[in-house]
């Protein structure tokens, strides 16, 4: 352990602004991406499924799911 105290850790040898700024920006951006994505997932869950009458393509895909191919 090369930090003698918490304030020593925060100072980062005089580079606190740059080091914590870098990690701060990183986690704010990744956190922001996660929050926006979770919002999108909630919004998407409200879209009602509107199944169209069975087309040939749809029948093919249904068969793929149930492994009948």
């Amino acid at each position: 352990m090369h930090w003698s105290s918490l304030s020593d850790f925060i100072r980062m040898g005089g580079y606190g602004f740059y080091v914590w700024g870098s990690y701060g920006v990183t986690f704010v951006l990744l956190g922001g991406e996660i929050l926006m994505l979770l919002k999108r997932r909630r919004d998407v869950a409200r879209i009602p499924a509107e199944p169209k009458p069975e087309t040939r393509k749809a029948k093919f895909e249904t068969a793929m799911v149930s492994d009948k191919l």
Binding site: G13, Y15, Y18, L30, E33, R40, V44, A49, T62, V65
Partner: protein, 245 residues
Amino acid sequence: MSTRRINWYKYAAPANFYPLAGKMIPFFTVVTVLLFIIGLYVGFFVAPTDFQQGESYRIIFIHVPAAWMGMFLYMLMAVYAGLGWAFNARLGSMMATAISTTGAVFTFISLVTGSLWGKPAWGVYWVWDARMTSTLILMFLYIGFISLQSSIDDPRRADRAGAVLALVGLINVPIIYFSVQWWNTLHQGATFTARSFKMAPSMLWAMLILLAACWMYSIAVVLVRVRCIIREREREAPWLAEAVA
């Protein structure tokens, strides 16, 4: 012994991929959190102080993984976009769209952290050095891909237009990678190559663990996003009505 072969084409169908992706997300989320905790611990409490740069070098643990992810994800995005275009496989195109946002986020992180490291190391936040300029171009390629796709209403036409842009822009990736060799840059050369590590093992480990954390993060986030895209674009498919019922 089972001789049953795996039908790889099966998972190219959104109907099969959607539930599979859903099952994988919790695993990648847990691994991401664990790797970030371990990587940050090694980076801040195990890795020693750099004899030249003092503590400011600790930015490397996030800067290098973010820069690599920006390039890896661009290549992955271009490959998926190309597959989606060449084989008319819409899941490939959806994957490319899902990857683009995360790639842009990591490229932006690499530019900002690089800038914050540049100030104490070189005395300036930004110079028009070959590596930094080519990384900025990578950022513009991501922004171009995203805005081009969102400007076209028909999803398959948007996929094709995006694929052309992504594949043409691929030329920029080797330019970024070799920029420190081809031009006399202010940016330092490769920190490690296959033959030599110019750093203490604990420093290297912190960087590699955080790189793995960024990979796991990207996979988790892209899987969640591609599921959103599938639900938006396949709402008329009968299988989806069953899957989300």
